[in-house]
């Protein structure tokens, strides 16, 4: 039933642009007419250049100049400008290089500690999570190659290739409508879900080197990024209200994993549905506020190797869901170079996994029983521009305030909570480069008790190519 619902949702989402196109027939002829007129105008201008060139020394006629409607005569510089705007038909291209030095004082490395955290530390689909692991010493994040352009009067497109030492990966490749009426927009492709605040941000946009702990533990280093479609609607209300539904294939191996491996059942995609709302009052002056609510549900499968012999021996299948809330406040100071700017943001995230034991080679009696995982977490951070080009930030995080696992044998485990505190200072020489130093200290709840760890980061990143623009 649910799968059928997801499929219907996806169908609606995908059909919407076609409807928009049909309703938009008038625009396309308009555009053709505009193009024709533009060409005529260009021809007229070219004629004018030819006409005015030889007579450049003689004064332009008074009649032409005194009517104020006249544009200034086409100068050589204006022609240069014409060429430049022609060039902008090419997609905007940029690349981001992001490296950091990391050191921590834990025995096996911080990545090992976070992987072993009670209640969170399962390796779900049987894969190792080497991706996104932070090593002591130098780290190079993937090189982000971004391409974006208006496709035509109806769509825009963008793609981000993530290149690292192991090869290239498609981080995003999406098509978005720009032509739909009544505040609707449809997106399709592979993209970051827009739920919450930080999920849709790329790592170079974060105000701290690392991702919030709750995101890392529940969604993995890439957050919720999947192949799917999104239908969003900007309401015609006197305040800002944006609502969206998203359908994804379900390829996140932390929360919406799908292995399809025997004996697990087969599920058709899309297997994940997401819904979210964002609200923003019309604040005066330099204040900006946005608050959101979100929820998601989808199929989830796990294959485990209980006896450690290298082969899966028990299999779970069911649904995972998460819900939460986000809020961000920004003060944009009138002082230059970010002095006095303030950003305060926080998100709460709660997840539940409700999985059925499908098969169990070790203890067949448990088949049909449930395992339910309830975990949550939040982060709260503030970043302030204390000086021109310099910012300082504090972040406080807790995970596992709710941290229980109901096991298939009917027993219930209650784990404790973990915390992490971070402080960072960054320097932004220009809009295209940034240096950052950050220190984290955390107490992580693992099977061995609470493990303290202190981390140090020194980050250096740059952006080359076209000038980016960021959402609120």
């Amino acid at each position: 039933m649910k799968t059928a619902l997801y499929r219907l949702l996806a169908a609606i989402v995908l059909m919407a642009p076609l409807i928009g196109l049909a309703a938009d027939e008038g625009t396309s002829t308009n555009t053709l007419e505009e193009l024709r007129q533009l060409r005529l105008r260009t021809e007229a201008l070219e004629k004018k250049i030819v006409e005015t060139r030889p007579a450049a020394s003689s004064a332009p006629t008074l009649a032409a100049e005194s009517t104020a409607a006249q544009k200034p005569p086409l100068s050589e510089s204006a022609m240069v400008r014409g060429w430049r705007s022609f060039q902008s038909f090419n997609p905007e291209i940029s690349a981001i290089v992001d490296m950091f030095y990391h050191a921590d004082d834990s025995a096996d490395g911080i990545s090992h500690v976070t992987e072993e955290m009670s209640g969170f530390g399962h390796s779900h689909s049987g894969e190792d999570h080497h991706h996104g692991e932070t090593e002591n010493g130098f780290n190079l994040r993937h090189l982000e190659l971004q391409f974006s352009a208006e496709v035509d009067p109806y769509f825009k497109g963008s793609a981000i290739a993530a290149v690292d030492l192991d090869g290239a990966e498609m981080e995003e490749a999406k098509i978005e409508t720009t032509c739909l009426p009544y505040g609707f927009a449809v997106r399709g492709g592979k993209f970051f879900s827009d739920f919450g605040y930080i999920n849709a941000q790329h790592s170079h946009q974060w105000d701290f080197v690392d991702q919030p702990l709750i995101y890392q533990l529940t969604l993995g280093p890439h957050g919720l990024n999947d192949i799917g479609a999104q239908l969003s609607w900007l309401a015609p209300t006197p305040f800002y209200l944006l609502a969206a539904v998203e359908a994804f294939q379900g390829k996140n191996d932390m929360i919406f994993a799908y292995c399809g491996e025997d004996p697990l059942p087969h599920h058709n995609g899309p297997r994940v549905g997401v819904g979210w709302l964002k609200f923003g009052p019309d604040l005066p002056g330099n204040h900006g506020l946005q608050a959101g609510l979100f929820g998601a549900m989808g199929k989830d499968q796990e294959a485990h190797d209980g006896n450690g012999d290298g082969d899966s021996d028990h299999w779970l299948d069911g649904n995972s869901m998460f819900w939460g809330a986000d809020c961000v406040y920004k003060y944009n100071s009138p002082q230059p170079h970010g002095k006095g700017d303030l950003t305060v943001q926080g998100e709460y995230f709660n997840r539940r996994k409700d999985l059925d034991m499908i098969a169990n080679d070790l203890n067949p009696a448990l088949v049909g029983n449930h395992r339910i995982d309830d975990q949550d977490g939040y982060y709260l951070q503030a970043v302030y521009g204390f000086c021109e080009r310099w910012r300082g930030g504090l972040r406080w995080e807790q995970v596992g305030l709710v941290n229980t696992t109901k096991l298939p044998d009917g027993s219930r485990e209650d784990f404790g909570s973990s915390y992490r505190a971070g402080v960072m200072i960054d320097f932004t020489p220009s809009e295209f480069s940034r240096l950052r130093v950050q220190v984290n200290h955390g107490g992580y709840e693992t099977a061995a008790g609470r493990e303290p760890a202190t981390e140090f980061f020194l980050q250096w990143m740059i952006s080359i190519g076209s000038h980016g623009a960021h959402k609120f």
Binding site: A68, E150, Y182
Partner: protein, 339 residues
């Protein structure tokens, strides 16, 4: 498919009236307050004009906040400065607004830089090692009153296309705006006997002085041009490369900027060079906007005795700058040191 189309159609008819509710006249949204001031003068009471930037902020560094998206959502006409001034936030606002009528290329999108004289278009390929250089030219063009005049006409033309019934009114309003601008530029007395358009032509040819002295009216130059006459040919220092158009129009030369490169805050080494230069060339004026720190200017003024002129370059940036003409009045009076 048919059912879906019907559902969407029903939703659309239900929502449609809400979207247009209360939209009596046109809604114009401009990126800067200067464009808003000119648009108000041209639109009169036929449109509601709102600006994204207030005049107290730097339009290059805004955040695409929800309130801006709401304004864009309801706009019939979006007017921008262009030349990449708004590049850091404009598209997220336009994308977020889902308003297809104001996207670049649409009739409801006016890039005011298309109708003005643009200065400082780099003749060689630019790299970012040169600082925040705008590859299509310097975007602070509204500080040349001639460009203000051109913008008014372009807005009237576009408004006329959007609301053909009022096209004549917009044209007339633009003419009134130009008339008042010409009077402030050249002095009311001169504009009484000479056509404003002809005076501008002579200004742009650089032959106004000769033309007027031939006509025996050399002493009749008033307004901003008259007030700025004693400063003609003088060299000044500015904080940012934001006064090129003003300086060019009134015959000032910007000899140096306090910023070593556009968008890079002053460094001690660079200021030492500026001080040397100011001493050597006898530069008497340092011009900067109120949102920049005065420390660098104070230092240079201390060592050279130059006068610091702090004045906004945008409408609404100071209490007196209530509209475009008042802004130019304020700038001229501050620079000339006459209250």
């Amino acid at each position: 498919m048919k059912t879906i189309a019907r559902v969407v159609a029903v939703m659309a008819t239900a929502i449609g009236p809400l979207v247009n509710a209360g939209a009596d006249g046109l809604k114009i949204v401009t990126t800067t307050s200067d464009l808003a001031a000119i648009a108000s003068a041209v639109a009169g009471d036929k449109a509601e004009v709102r600006s994204i930037c207030t005049g107290r902020e730097d339009p290059h560094f805004l955040q695409a906040k929800p309130s801006y998206i709401m304004r864009a959502r309801d706009a019939d006409l979006w007017i921008r400065i262009g030349l990449e001034l708004e590049i850091g936030w404009e598209m997220p606002v336009l994308d977020g607004s889902r308003n297809r009528h104001i996207r670049p290329g649409a009739k409801g999108h006016l890039d005011a830089s298309e109708c003005v004289n643009v200065l400082e278009i780099p003749a060689i390929p630019v790299t970012r090692a040169m600082g925040d250089v705008h590859p299509s030219g310097n975007p602070h063009y509204w500080l040349d009153p001639f460009n203000g005049r051109c913008i008014a006409v372009a807005i009237a033309e576009r408004l006329g296309q959007l609301a053909p019934a009022d096209a004549a009114l917009f044209k007339a309003n633009a003419a009134v705006f130009q008339q008042s601008l010409d009077e402030r530029m050249f002095g009311a007395e001169l504009v009484k006997s000479e056509d404003g358009g002809r005076l501008w032509l002579k200004v742009r040819e650089g032959t106004l002085e000769k033309y007027l002295s031939d006509a025996g009216k050399a002493d009749k130059i008033g307004g901003w041009l008259g007030a700025m006459r004693p400063l003609r040919g003088k060299k000044i220092i500015t904080y940012h490369r934001s006064w090129s158009y003003f300086a060019d129009r009134f015959g000032l030369t910007v000899a140096a900027e306090l910023e070593p490169k556009p968008g890079i805050p002053p460094s001690p080494a660079h200021l030492a060079e500026v001080i040397e230069l100011a001493k050597a060339q006898g530069i008497g004026i340092i011009l900067q906007e109120p949102f920049y720190s005065r420390k660098a200017a104070d230092l240079v003024a201390d060592k050279t005795g130059a006068r610091i002129v702090v004045v906004t370059n945008s409408v609404g940036g100071e209490a007196e700058a209530i509209d475009y003409l008042a802004l130019m009045d304020l700038i001229v009076s501050r620079i000339t040191g006459t209250p």
